[in-house]
């Protein structure tokens, strides 16, 4: 939708108007960069993203390249983070693991944002009985601890990364639904919704063009924070053997293998653990910063 708007803008633009169009985003950036922690978060996340994208170039060894001659070597110039019990380069595995964690976290959240957003929008917009019905179902789903729910789903459908993704998405869908429902209910009462109605706008138009764009800010903030939680959860599931299957270099799975050797090969578990902490921290910092920048009520 953003692309469409800017196309229209180009079609009927004077230079002054063009400048204005940019200023809204500039304003957002100005507020965002006021917070140092948010900037650090963004920087760290950028680092993580670069690692994921250029994993092929960064990793010195293939993630599944076994070399039994160099089992459980401590960190050295050749193996920056040492090697594991099969002689695989821990550094390379951590680097490739970035891809997996980001993809799983991002898509799980995207999936739940779409599903939860739709459910929440319908619930908040129509209110009354529809709302009551949907929210009770959501209460039920929410009463199950997400990790338990994920374990149940993954054990029912078999352990794989795709199933982990779906299981996590199901866990977060009600959370998104709640967030979206809340903001839809507030926005629904705004006068510009009445104004659209008087013009003859349909419910569909009102939801998609008027309510959702205004309800997006909290969704983005929640989304960022949920990606962090989803990454943790995916690592947790892999740790207990329900997620990624060997030889996939998943951080949680690496931790789980590493724990058997923690006394004499601490690097096997410490580095994947640090990677998880690093990524989650960057997302959390970014999410907090975004919340401050996007929430006009905190605008100073």
């Amino acid at each position: 939708m953003a692309a469409k708007t800017s196309d229209q803008a180009v079609a009927m633009t004077t230079p002054a108007a063009k400048k204005k169009k940019r200023s809204q985003r500039a304003e957002l950036w100005r507020r965002f960069k006021k917070s140092k922690t948010a900037l650090i978060g963004l920087g760290l996340l950028a680092l993580v993203l670069v690692t994921a994208i250029f994993a092929n170039q960064i990793a010195p060894h293939p993630y599944d390249g076994m070399n039994l001659m160099v089992r459980r070597q401590p960190p050295s110039a050749e193996y920056l983070m040492g090697t594991d019990h099969m002689g695989r380069c821990v550094f390379s595995r951590v680097v490739y693991g970035t891809r997996i964690s980001l993809v799983v976290g991002f898509f799980a959240v995207l999936l739940s944002a779409i599903a939860g957003g739709t459910i929440g929008a319908i619930s908040g917009f129509y209110g009354d009985k529809v709302d009551n019905f949907i929210m009770r179902i959501i209460d039920v789903v929410l009463s199950i601890p997400p990790i338990l729910l994920a374990i149940a789903i993954v054990s029912a459908f078999g352990g794989s990364l795709v199933n982990v993704m779906i299981a996590i998405a199901i866990g977060y869908t009600p959370r998104f639904a709640r967030v979206v429902r809340g903001s839809v209910m507030t926005i629904k009462e705004d006068e510009f919704i009445d104004a659209a109605r008087v013009l003859g706008a349909s419910d569909y138009r009102i939801i998609t063009k008027h309510i959702m764009p205004n309800a997006l800010a909290p969704v983005i903030v929640q989304g960022t924070l949920f990606v962090a939680m989803a990454i943790l959860q995916a690592a947790g599931l892999s740790f207990i053997g329900l997620g990624a299957q060997p030889p996939t270099p998943e951080w949680g799975a690496m931790l789980s293998t590493g724990q058997n050797y923690i006394r004499d090969a601490w690097w096997m578990s410490v580095f994947p653990g640090l990677a998880i902490a690093f990524t989650v921290l960057s997302l959390n910092l970014l999410g907090d910063g975004l919340r401050d920048a996007l929430d006009p009520r905190l605008k100073t």
Partner: protein, 318 residues
């Protein structure tokens, strides 16, 4: 003046169910608006004038009564008919800060009216029309991609008006269109509305709490008090010989610039009665200086035509 009645309201009633009882927001009011005229609807806040306006544009469902537009009851229309009718009855909202979607630019906001009704096939024609309408309401073309938060109140209200007139409606409900604006801007907007009325042969229902604003724009003025209409007549008569004690109090409250002229202000005492479960008598009874006991307390005065075109709901009116 043409005699054709464009809009007719019959026994319109709106009761809200509140935890404390039935709130009679609008209670059995009757009036009509002739084609091309401006009917001013005044009253203090909470008297039901905005609810009346909202029912006319079908934002609020009446409890009972009919709203006839061109002889057609607008509350029994099906979806398609309603959409057609909406083209003809538009509304300008009170608060231009909240009645425009903050995520839409000026051009998006005006375009929307055409998109909803699929008026133009080609985007180019539509975009030209957007600029044309901006010109009509006095918005500079350089504002086309501005967002509402970048505009001042007057310009925002011009955008609101542009949206209202974009589809060439016959009737516009103006719900306190200037009360949220600075006094200097108020005059500009009132002049704009006046010019548009002449240019497009519009019919206005002008809702306001300020008689001095309504005075300048209305052909006839209706006064409401706690859900009831108490007086309805042309704009000259209401200022010269108001018959209802409440109208008299309202008119005496208009500030006059003449210092020498001694003003005889009627200060109303007591509070506005609650519209929840009102008693049987006149709503104005507790504050009325001219009440007659016991009739005013026990019987509600009906709206009567005391002189041609002059309606009053008061037991004293002759």
């Amino acid at each position: 003046m043409m005699e054709e009645k464009l809009l007719e309201v019959e026994n319109l009633q709106k009761i809200f169910n509140t935890p404390r009882g039935a709130l009679h927001a609008v209670d059995n009011i009757n009036f009509f608006v002739r084609k091309g005229e401006t009917l001013g609807l005044v009253g203090e806040s909470g008297c039901g004038k905005s609810t009346t306006g909202r029912m006319i544009v079908r934002l609020t469902q009446p409890t009972s009564g009919r709203i006839m537009f061109q002889g057609q009851d607008i509350h029994i229309l099906n979806k398609k008919q309603l959409k057609e009718t909406r083209k003809n009855i538009q509304m300008v909202f009170q608060d231009p800060f909240s009645s425009l979607n903050p995520r839409m630019s000026v051009s998006d906001l005006i375009k929307e009216t055409f998109d909803i009704h699929k008026v133009y096939r080609k985007d180019k024609e539509r975009d030209e029309r957007v600029l044309e309408i901006m010109n009509v309401v006095g918005l500079s073309p350089r504002l086309v991609n501005s967002y509402p938060h970048e505009l001042d109140g007057g310009r925002r209200q011009r955008v609101g008006i542009a949206r209202a007139i974009a589809l060439n409606p016959k009737c516009i409900v103006l719900d306190e269109p200037v009360s949220a604006l600075d006094v200097s801007v108020q005059a500009q907007i009132l002049n704009l509305l006046d010019r548009l009325q002449d240019e497009f042969k519009l019919t206005y229902l002008f809702i306001a709490h300020d008689l001095s604003v309504v005075k300048h724009v209305s052909d006839r003025i209706a006064v409401m008090y706690v859900g009831k209409m108490v007086e309805l007549t042309d704009y000259k008569t209401i200022f010269k010989e108001p018959l209802h004690p409440y109208s008299r109090a309202l008119i005496s409250a208009i500030p006059t610039p003449n210092l020498k002229k001694k003003k005889d202000r009627i200060i109303l005492e007591g509070d506005v009665p609650s519209p929840i479960n009102p008693g049987p008598g006149c709503r104005f009874y507790p504050r009325c200086r001219e009440r007659i006991d016991p009739i005013c307390k026990e019987t509600e005065p009906e709206m009567r035509e005391v002189k041609p075109g002059h309606f009053v709901a008061c037991h004293r009116a002759e």
